[in-house]
């Protein structure tokens, strides 16, 4: 082979690489996501836009994302390293999580504490103390593990049915609703396993609290 054919082969190869790259960029990086958005917007408009939940016409959350609740008459979810991206503003516009620490902006994740990390034990101990204070009838060894451990995402919208049940007496005292009413609300927001086999039984915390708010007359109408 002489030099010119070598050179030509090189430039031919370069052209192929560059043009293919550009075409696939257009096809995979632009056409595909736009096409999928278009179809989704027509077929599944609610889900495509983030399954936002409304109460009295106001957006109050999303069906798939948990929230940080503090009021004694609302059911509590699991601890979250990002406090479920829930925050409040003071007069100067500074933003804080509910525990008073500065809001870090939108995030997700866990504290990433190893099982052997003393910080994990400290955090769980503090949460147990606070929970026992808020739920005086509960015995320490009866607290389900999921309620005191942080989820992977920090946005877990669910707790186990046991964790829901154990909160009912305190919720009843604070909300003025009867335990039977609350049990019914929990049952309404409990989802079983898929086909009875896959996954776990879950209670949707935001759903429970929307129903509590409705029963207490705090909101009129809510779509979940």
């Amino acid at each position: 082979m002489n030099e010119t054919t070598n050179k030509n082969a090189f430039f031919h190869g370069l052209r192929q690489s560059l043009v293919v790259t550009f075409l696939l960029l257009l096809l995979c990086g632009f056409v595909f996501p736009v096409l999928l958005s278009g179809i989704s917007a027509v077929v599944f408009p609610r889900q495509a836009n983030g399954s936002v939940v409304y109460a009295d016409g106001q957006a109050v959350g999303a069906a798939n994302v948990g929230q940080d609740f503090t009021e004694p008459y609302f059911m509590k979810g699991r601890p979250s390293a990002y406090h479920y991206n829930t925050y409040y503003e003071d007069e100067q516009g500074n933003q804080y999580y509910n525990d008073g620490s500065a809001f870090a902006g939108l995030g997700s994740g866990s504290n990433n504490y190893a099982p052997s990390n003393p910080a994990l034990t400290e955090r769980v101990e503090a949460d147990i103390q606070a929970f026992l204070e808020a739920n005086p009838d509960v015995k320490r060894e009866d607290i389900p593990a999921d309620l005191m451990t942080a989820s992977g995402s920090g946005l877990d919208p669910h707790i186990t049915p046991e964790s829901a049940r154990i909160q009912i007496p305190a919720l009843a005292a604070a909300s003025g609703l009867s335990e039977e009413e609350l049990e019914q609300i929990v049952a309404d927001n409990t989802e079983g396993r898929l086909l009875g086999v896959f996954g776990e039984e879950t209670v949707h915390v935001l759903g429970v609290n929307l129903d509590i708010a409705k029963a207490m007359g705090l909101v009129g109408d809510a779509s979940k």
């Binding site: 690489s17 696939l24 960029l25 990086g29 996501p33 109050v60 798939n64 099982p115 942080a150 995402s153």
Partner: protein, 586 residues
């Protein structure tokens, strides 16, 4: 337990037709959808001056792969650096810092998807689409293309033609990845994964506080992330977040999306190798053809050689899954001590909707099939539960992602054949070709690169202050974090012990180098092995031939893999997860 068994049985049912389809694509055979795709592909070939029928030898193929990947890296790097422009950037994301952009672009081009940024705050929608989603398609397609070329070499229909890289790249993208992604993406949206271009939404909660809700083209990224065994999430917490993975059904969709193609690759291998063996036998001595043997159902579906490889991979996978599931069901003694009931298993870092079983399964799958997506935080796994993903990335051949796992497993098969040959005095042959000095040297080199990268760089990190600064957990677990990061980088997996504070110059640059070497060195060496084997003539099977299509060969293969892992990684594992386990339970 039942749900794990059922999940895997459904997988076995699904993987067969996908394997057949992939085989038709790889072998250039007719499929029902040709009338549509032939036009699309034809247009791409015409515009870029590709002649899909022009064959390449292994060197040209490797050059085309590396060259095209280099072009993609250049474009992607520029976009990451200028992403602050107000185009598809409703959340006002800033441009990316140079070492982080270097790390990110290598990470996505090499199909690793190690993320030293958080998607919520680090990437604009433009980057998510034109860099991340684009790279997820083409890095997977590049990997599968290399795998298909490798198989063609082993099947050895010709002496030096392993196929045309550009044609493979385009065919796999348009005929497999894009259509599968469109259907899978829609299913995910149906389950509640957002797919829009609006900015983040701020709502007023029932308590009068505010909450930010993330939006974006999540479903499009989500489906190719799994289908291409990429693994990099739209959000920091990846598939643990309920936006990426809202229900158990979406979890199963994502699980199957990442398991299907690597498993299908083994079927392609079995069928293509089987084809050319048959052809070879009939053409050579048509009168001596053995009467058609009644083949078992597995041999018919997977091909005989494919069956033993599939079996060996399955054994390794099930051993890992059992250990991880068992370990996660055990309590955390530290929490039991302060009186927290541990009957539900170790729930820290896990989602309630997935529970222990589906979390353990996802963890084992994501590291076996080298995806790197996570539906729970691996840093918070129990020591032995966390050792399973670490080990499977060190093995890097338990199915493996985008074809690369199969190529690694074939290397172990060559090694097994060689070792057995030495032990029982048989000629080392694999797939009808003699294994000689050149192949053995290349195989040894390719196998040794992986542990060398992991252990040498871990040693470097532990020895330097900049490396040690990344550890966030005290004690033995800190070493596990370091090992995990480099194992993940070298195996092109991309999951992490996410606690590691890794967005620093040291971690960005070293892991970038490891990912690059861990990807391209083995691919080039593997293609060289295939190129060397295909030049050889078939040797006739004799009494001295070690049969590689048997169950006993699969078992030998499993032992070779474990022995090799034990010899190279056991000391490191003993100082990390095993020591942590002993301290917790001691």
């Amino acid at each position: 337990m039942l749900q794990l068994v059922l999940t895997l049985i459904i997988y076995l049912i699904l993987v067969i037709p996908v394997g057949r389809y992939l085989y038709h694509i790889a072998a250039g055979k007719h499929t029902f959808a040709d009338p549509v795709f032939d036009r699309v592909d034809g247009a791409i070939y015409k515009l870029s001056g590709i002649n899909p029928r022009q064959g390449m030898n292994w060197k040209q193929y490797a050059m085309a792969l590396v060259g095209t990947n280099a072009a993609m890296i250049a474009i992607g790097y520029i976009i990451l650096r200028i992403q602050s422009i107000p185009l598809l950037n409703p959340n006002g994301i800033e441009g990316m810092e140079p070492t982080l952009a270097f790390n990110t672009i290598i990470s996505f081009m090499t199909n690793t998807n190690l993320q030293h940024y958080s998607g919520e705050s680090g990437l604009s929608y433009l980057s998510q689409m034109l860099v991340i989603i684009f790279m997820m398609f083409v890095s997977a397609a590049s990997g599968y293309a290399a795998c298909v070329a490798f198989i063609r070499g082993l099947a050895g229909k010709t002496k030096d033609n392993v196929g045309n890289f550009f044609a493979d790249l385009v065919r796999i993208t348009t005929r497999v990845l894009l259509p599968f992604s469109l259907v899978g993406g829609l299913l995910l949206v149906w389950q509640g994964v957002p797919q829009n271009f609006s900015g983040n939404v701020i709502v007023r909660t029932l308590e009068g506080t505010y909450q930010v809700l993330a939006m974006g083209p999540v479903a499009a990224l989500e489906i190719i992330k799994h289908l291409g065994t990429n693994g990099g999430g739209f959000f920091g917490a990846n598939s643990a977040t309920p936006m990426e993975n809202p229900t158990i059904l979406s979890n199963l969709i994502e699980l199957y999306a990442m398991m299907l193609l690597p498993g299908a690759c083994v079927i392609v291998f079995g069928k293509m190798v089987g084809d050319s063996r048959r052809q070879h036998q009939t053409s050579k001595a048509p009168e001596n053809i053995l009467p058609v043997q009644r083949e078992g159902i597995a041999a018919r579906l997977l091909g005989k050689e494919g069956r033993s490889i599939f079996l060996a991979m399955s054994i390794l996978f099930l051993v890992g899954l059992s250990l991880c599931y068992w370990a996660e069901q055990q309590s955390n003694p530290a929490l039991a001590e302060i009186g927290l009931s541990q009957s539900a298993g170790s729930m820290e870092g896990k989602e309630v909707r997935f529970g222990i079983a589906q979390s353990a399964l996802f963890t084992t799958v994501t590291t076996s099939f080298t995806t790197g997506t996570v539906n729970n935080m691996h840093d918070t796994l129990t020591p032995l539960g966390g050792m399973v993903p670490l080990l499977h990335m060190m093995l890097n051949c338990v199915f493996g992602g985008k074809g690369v796992g199969l190529m690694n497993m074939i290397l172990y098969a060559i090694l097994a054949v060689f070792i057995c040959g030495l032990m029982v005095g048989r000629t080392p042959e694999y797939l009808g070709k003699k294994i000689e000095g050149r192949e053995m040297k290349l195989t040894a080199l390719a196998i040794i690169i992986h542990p060398l990268l992991i252990l040498a760089f871990s040693a470097l990190a532990v020895a330097t202050a900049a490396g040690r600064a990344g550890m966030t957990n005290p004690g033995f677990h800190g070493l596990s974090q370091v090992l995990y990061e480099y194992a993940s980088a070298a195996a092109n997996n991309g999951s992490g012990f996410e606690g590691l504070a890794d967005n620093t110059y040291f971690w960005n640059i070293t892991t970038g180098i490891v990912m690059f070497l861990g990807r391209y060195l083995p691919i080039v060496i593997q293609l060289a092995i295939a190129g060397s084997l295909m030049k050889k003539n078939y040797v006739n099977e004799s009494a001295g031939t070690l049969r590689t299509s048997t169950v006993s060969f699969a078992v030998i293969l499993v032992f070779v893999v474990y022995i090799f892992a034990a010899l190279t990684f056991f000391p490191a594992l003993a100082l990390g997860p095993i020591a942590e386990h002993l301290t917790l339970w001691g």
